[in-house]
Symmetry: C2
């Protein structure tokens, strides 16, 4: 393809941190190849930053930088706006302004899309421009595009994802190296995978935000981070990991988005025992994967890097090329409209459970404990009893058959109320082989 | 979205076998949902078949069927042509006629695209219409679209795929159940996974055709099935499987497409020892997966059903919706142009190798054998010696460091020429952890 047939498309970046800087380098390195493949030559025209006094180590003319983000998003010299600043404010207003100005937007902002996604998607639609966000979920993994486009005709029943790399790293180290949760977290922090305050990762908030976006796209209904039930991994013990391994499972922090026959949906994040033969069990270290169950296509899995400058910038770049080609063609992709989600309450969901009950070790206790399960309609699939070192206590490990969440919660309450029960811990959901 | 905003898009199917029939059912079942999401209502308008006298068990007006495929592809009442007949003739001419008539085409035909893909892609481009073919590679797995679109800006270095379900089923049974190759093949045939003549699957022809399509799209150069080096699994023994397991590997039939720094490419299919920690090692039974290594994005994997009526029809349907939406918008996706591939000869590729050498068990033999490796520039990573039951023979198992293929082939020749060597067998390539 010769120079004369190329169309230049000017990018305006909001933010220039790790992802933004990587994107600038990628655009510079790949512009020739992209132009040869698509006829579109990408150019970084403007970059909005908070301070002009930072040396970002990029080979960019200093005049490209500006502190005036509000002007950038309406600048006639910007064809595509790329939001890699993160956070809700001012990203939300800037993206809305860009869309209203008729500029396509590529965003990597999970927090914003999990809170105001459906509203921004509809604004993009009414403005007749693209709003693309591959990088907001599962980093570099091409998942949102296959879900939106390849699977547009598919009846997606369930999506299960390992979509937080920090917690997967911690659980992998606990499983493979026998580390405690505290040691694995400390190592994740030393490697820069986990923040000093790791709450957003280890308690499932980060995965919950991504799961809300996945559910919105998979099911076509607006789901926000606030709709997601989440439980974290900070209570998972080395004993649980060991028991899981012995029973043929690996413990993973799964985000699960489901749609039921009545069109209600449920989105939740919790530690889960996954059979070792399930494809999700083999997702190690800080990798991410999203497992999709469709009525026609069966099981699918998408695997890759969920974070990091270049993997995330790669996903942004794919969207940028798409938006740029659409600008040249004068077209855009539609996300359709999003109804209000009918959320199925957590209490009404079904799952099998693993749990540990510590009891006073005396005759009749097991029958007593088992009776509580039965009285609440929870059927026991397997039980293991082991003696504890101290004063005549025993440890009972149960795995239940699939049961209603509310029945299981009533069982846990009733068990805790028994005078022979010292504690009920490590309540972990269990899934079957794929 | 109300009825009045819907646009009807009429489909003309070429063929109505397993995939075609599944597609008709899927379109019927999903049309409302697709219309709600996209504004496009799909309708199966014409189906070309060889005989009108077959009851296909479909809820379709008999007048939809025709034996005149040549008229279907230029019928003004057909908006999108869907080729699910397979084979090269007459599919090739029919697709070309449809494209020339300005009709977008969706094809699931790996054989045709592996032989005439680049030429048809260019015809689609000059005709200004879509030619989409997600289902031709890895069945229901959304891979071609992510590769074409999400990764359009990515520098793809290598693609490794388990893209033949039959051989993966056979190797899984040999690994997990300890079956012989012959027993596993017989079971695959009984289940309908393998043909009575299994050559196309077990000798790597089927995977080779798909690998040619993958290489064409990943590297933007025309690669055909004839360019693909292939070795099958029929010589893999239970001993090899056992040794692989002991050494921390699984044997998989991999299709590998690589691009080198000088822009040459190599595409090959061969049994491969894959480390158990590699994501491809966990792909079991008849599942498929494609593993992509990109310069920016790192490692990706796409996993799912590589065959079967509904999974394949699901992939076809995704393409059909895309083509239909583009018809309504008056746009299409471009595949760009494809240069001639510069193929790197198999002799110039690098790999580590596993091999078995049976020798006469007498002093000095090991030094003799090891000397042959050294003389040919092949470095040994590990060696195991075991006695054989019969008359003083021994079995030497070698794994080499990465070596040039031609050096390894010279080593094999020289070993076979040694009078102390009885046989050299089970030459299997070995890859490292991802």
């Amino acid at each position: 393809m010769t120079e004369t047939t190329e169309r230049i498309v000017n990018l305006g970046l909001l933010g220039c941190g790790t992802v933004g800087g990587s994107l600038v380098e990628l655009v510079q390195g790949r512009a020739d190849d992209i132009a040869a493949r698509t006829g579109v030559r990408l150019r970084v025209a403007r970059i909005a930053v908070r301070s002009l006094d930072v040396d970002r180590g990029l080979d960019v003319d200093p005049s490209v930088f500006t502190v005036d983000a509000a002007s950038l998003v309406v600048d006639p010299g910007v064809d595509v706006v790329v939001e890699v600043m993160g956070g809700i404010d001012p990203a939300r207003d800037l993206i809305a302004a860009a869309l209203r100005a008729g500029k396509p937007v590529v965003s990597a902002n999970k927090e914003l899309l999990a809170s105001a996604g459906a509203e921004l998607f509809e604004l993009a639609d009414t403005s007749g421009v693209d709003l693309l966000f591959e990088a907001a979920v599962a980093g570099g993994i091409p998942f949102i595009r296959p879900l939106r486009e390849s699977l547009v005709g598919e009846d997606v029943i369930r999506v299960m994802g390992i979509i937080n790399g920090t917690t997967n790293y911690i659980l992998t180290k606990m499983t493979e190296e026998g580390w405690s949760y505290a040691d694995a977290l400390a190592e994740a922090q030393a490697l820069g995978y986990a923040e000093a305050d790791p709450t957003a990762d280890v308690e499932g908030f980060d995965a919950g935000a991504k799961a809300a976006i996945i559910a919105t796209i998979a099911f076509g209904v607006g789901v926000t981070a606030a709709d997601v039930h989440h439980e974290g991994i900070s209570t998972v013990t080395a004993d649980d990991i060991e028991a899981a391994g012995r029973l043929g499972y690996q413990i993973k922090l799964l985000a699960v988005a489901e749609r039921f026959d009545d069109a209600s949906v449920a989105v939740r994040v919790h530690p889960t025992m996954v059979p070792v033969t399930h494809p999700l069990a083999s997702v190690r270290d800080s990798f991410n994967a999203v497992f999709v169950e469709g009525a026609a296509v069966g099981d699918l899995m998408f695997y890759g890097r969920g974070a990091g400058g270049f993997p995330t910038a790669s996903a942004v770049l794919g969207d940028v090329v798409d938006a740029a080609v659409n600008v040249v063609k004068g077209t855009h992709a539609s996300l359709g409209s999003f109804g209000q989600a009918v959320l199925r309450p957590q209490d009404d969901l079904d799952s099998a459970f693993y749990l540990i009950v510590e009891v006073v070790d005396r005759p009749g206790v097991l029958a007593n404990v088992a009776g509580v399960f039965g009285a609440n309609g929870v059927s026991i699939r397997s039980m293991e009893q082991s003696a504890l070192a101290d004063d005549g206590a025993a440890r009972l490990m149960f795995i239940t058959h699939t049961a209603r969440e509310s029945d299981v919660q009533h069982t846990l309450e009733a068990l805790r109320a028994l005078d022979v029960v010292r504690s009920v811990d490590s309540v972990i959901r269990v899934i079957g082989p794929s």
